[in-house]
């Protein structure tokens, strides 16, 4: 017999299901650690025994609640999840498609990843100032005259025209 094996048996003995063997009893008399543990386990096994509960009242209240409080079924939860998911998806689409969102970005917002960049070949030929003008014009009301100095088709060479056509035709 070891302290550990005695320790494993203590709860069963404390609850009255088993009893100590003579050898274990002798060990408890000489081993202060095991004696300490035995007092602890004995106390813990009886802890809260003096608490009085109104079992009849508890049962009645539980049954009343079960009868009156509707259960949140899985299908209802799933429905809310679906509606929530669709709403989130719709909000995301609106955010992406909303005109003028570029200028509303907070300072320091990281640039969109390459995966989300849409190739607009016709913008490739514009210089920095022209691109800025394009960006600013996106937020302007339609009736405001555009400040974009878009290059006329006539000013484009054959190669540039080809690229514009390819971008329009997809």
């Amino acid at each position: 017999m070891t302290c550990e094996s005695l320790s494993d048996r203590m709860p069963e003995v404390a609850l009255g299901g088993e009893s100590f063997h003579p050898e274990e009893l002798r060990h408890l008399e000489t081993c202060a650690e095991c004696a300490h543990e035995w007092r602890l386990v004995g106390q813990a096994s009886k802890m809260g025994q003096s608490i009085q509960l109104d079992g009849g009242g508890i049962a009645a209240t539980v049954l009343h609640r079960l009868a009156t409080e509707p259960a949140q079924s899985n299908s209802r939860r799933y429905a809310w999840f679906t509606v929530g998911g669709m709403a989130a998806a719709a909000a995301l689409v609106l955010l992406v498609l909303r005109p003028g969102r570029v200028n509303h970005e907070l300072p320091g917002t990281p640039p969109p990843s390459a995966a989300f960049q849409i190739p607009l070949v016709e913008l490739d030929s514009l210089n920095g100032e022209q691109l800025q003008a394009v960006l600013e014009s996106i937020d302007e009301p339609l009736e405001t005259p555009s400040r974009i100095e878009a290059p006329s088709m006539l000013e484009l060479d054959d190669q540039q025209l080809e690229r514009v056509l390819r971008s329009l035709e997809g």
Binding site: E4, S7, D8, M10, P11, E12, A14, L15, G17, E33, H36, E37, R39, L40, V41, Q43, A44, S45, M47, G48, Q49, S50, I51, Q52, L53, D54, G55, G56, I58, A59, T61, V62, L63, R65, L66, A71
Partner: protein, 182 residues
């Protein structure tokens, strides 16, 4: 508490089957049988004397509402202890990490409170304080062992761990509690 004759001797499985079949008297017998140990578990886990009854009620409400999830892998009582433990955890989270059920502030002997007056003893308070400071798993394993006599295999199923880990948790709990209880 009055229960229907003939039902007291029925096993938990029989009573649960009867309740599933619409017999509410079976639920009444189950509450009468298991409410006291569930209350002791909640009290030992840190619930204040005045809150134990409400928490026991909530434990049974949750248990009966999802009675189909009891598949007899663990005893009905051990399963109730698991629900009660989760209930305490939820209460703790809702309180944003503050102890909802503070032993130190609410449960030392108060002779104006009949619940604590009945329960208080110096050693018991030391033990409760120690239990409150244990990690949840250690506390639950310890209480399932010493208040129910549940074996490590069943504790492992109930708490989602292994029997070996449950045994380690138990011995860690004992070691730490020895520091609190003279």
């Amino acid at each position: 508490m009055t229960v229907m004759p003939g039902r007291q001797e029925d096993s938990d499985s029989t009573l649960v089957a009867a309740y599933r079949g619409g017999d509410q008297r079976a639920a009444t017998v189950l509450v009468a049988r298991h409410a006291p140990p569930v209350g002791r578990f909640l009290y030992s886990s840190g619930a204040g004397g005045g809150e134990v009854e409400d928490l026991v009620q909530e434990t049974f409400f949750r248990a009966f509402r999802r009675i189909d999830s009891w598949r007899e892998e663990a005893s009905f009582r051990t399963w109730l202890f698991t629900i009660a433990g989760n209930l305490l955890k939820d209460a703790y989270r809702k309180n944003r990490g503050h102890k909802l059920l503070s032993i130190e502030e609410r449960d030392f002997p108060d002779h104006h409170d009949p619940h604590t007056e009945l329960a208080a003893s110096e050693t018991e308070q030391q033990l409760r304080t120690g239990l409150e400071k244990l990690p949840r798993l250690q506390r639950e394993v310890f209480l399932m062992r010493v208040q129910l006599g549940t074996g490590y295999d069943e504790i492992a199923v109930a708490l989602g761990t292994t029997p070996g880990a449950a045994r380690v948790h138990y011995h860690h709990a004992v070691k730490r509690l020895k520091e609190f209880v003279a």
